[in-house]
Amino acid sequence: MGLGFAVGVLGVLILGHAAYSTIQYRGLLKIMEEEFSGPPMNVVLELLLAFLFCIWAALSVPGKFLPINPDSEENRIVSLPDNLDFMIFNHRAKVSLSEIGLKLKH
């Protein structure tokens, strides 16, 4: 978590630096009066790196992935809830349970 967050911050910083380099490069082009033919190598590299870092942070920081398939081991339904709205009380508890010691004390 901490590592992923740090990588994310690093990615954003690199992205910022790439933006800054681009502005500088355009300024330089204006001074040298050359035509724009493509971004410089270091900006492209920085963008790629920042992209990878940000993706990694976005995947690892928010939490771990949960299965969504209904038939996966975690999600498969093993039993239905007991129908508590239709619960009835005259069953074997009347004779078998003798926990009379329980009491609400106030």
């Binding site: 975690e74 498969r76 709205d85 239709f86 009380f89 508890a93 106030h106």
Partner: protein
């Protein structure tokens, strides 16, 4: 619906609480969320929280929910004194509440005073004629008095108004099965599958009913629903696997003399048998011989 992870978590928490490891409140919350009926444990652990003033006050407003939960659990365990005390506390806090009124009627039911309970319910219904819980209680009361046909009548009336209530459909289906009225039960399960198509246990129950009804067509449909259960549970449902084997052998017996234009897929049954053998080997090796001889007698 109780999924596999939730069941494991519930059992783990129950074990922990039983052995004095704490987490009683979490356990009670989970029981409430999953709507399982473990009244004895709820009564024991809920009371231990309620009897401890420090723990009780730390719950805040959830305290009253716990009183209600413990009251119902106490009625289920026939500890009517505890239930009465809990309801008294709630009554003091919420004097005009319908929910507490319902609990009082529930207590009357638990004591077996049917007529008094019925009176309370009808007066509550006058205030709010669309209270689903009270309508359901009427059904349960008829059932508790052994008046199953009355319960079915009430349920049918209820379902005419609240058609989307799948709990009621399930109750009706189970009641019909208990009376061996399988055609009606099958209708209810169809309704359930329509409303919740991803719940494998409805497919399984429907298949069971169809298999019990018998006849070539029903058996073939039953086999399809067993197969869909397997699909939805990832092949972990033993009952569905056995159902496939039973259906296949019954179909083979019924269609013995006829020319088989619609030949059944023989792979399905052998696959089910293999899966069963694998599961038995893993979880109950001592019963493996029994399984193999049974499968052999079914000629799967």
């Amino acid at each position: 619906m109780v999924s596999n992870t939730e069941e494991i978590q519930l059992n783990r928490l129950e074990n922990q609480v039983d052995n004095g490891g704490g987490g009683a409140w979490d356990y009670l919350c989970l029981v409430r969320k999953l709507k399982v009926r473990r009244s004895e444990k709820v009564l024991k652990h809920g009371l231990s929280i309620l009897n401890d003033p420090k723990k009780r006050s730390s719950l805040g407003p959830d305290e009253w929910t716990l009183y209600e939960q413990v009251a119902i659990a106490a009625m289920d365990c026939q500890c009517l004194d505890v239930a009465k005390d809990c309801i008294k506390v709630l009554q003091k806090r919420f004097p005009e509440s319908k929910r507490v009124g319902r609990l009082e009627a529930l207590l009357l039911e638990a004591k077996g005073f049917w007529e008094e309970a019925e009176k309370v319910y009808s007066s509550l219904l006058e205030d709010n004629p669309l209270d689903q819980v009270i309508h359901k209680r009427r059904v349960a009361m008829a059932k508790a008095q052994g008046n199953i046909s009355g319960a079915i009548e009430w349920l049918n009336k209820y379902l005419e108004i609240f058609m989307a209530d799948h709990d009621a459909w399930r109750e009706l289906a189970e009641t019909y099965v208990s009376l061996q009225m399988y055609k009606q039960a099958a209708f209810c399960y169809e309704e359930l599958i329509l409303s919740q198509p991803t719940v494998p246990l409805y497919h399984l129950a429907y298949a069971d009913v169809l298999y019990t009804l018998g006849g070539l067509e029903n058996l073939q449909t039953a086999k399809k629903y067993y197969a869909s259960t397997i699909d939805l549970t990832g092949g972990k449902n033993t009952r569905a696997l056995l159902g496939i084997c039973l259906c296949s052998s019954a179909i083979a017996q019924l269609s013995k003399g006829r020319n088989k234009e619609d030949k059944e897929n023989p792979e399905l049954q052998s696959l089910a048998a293999t899966a069963l053998e694998k599961e038995y080997k893993q979880r109950a090796p001592t019963k493996l011989g029994l399984l193999i001889s049974t499968l052999k007698s079914l000629k799967v």
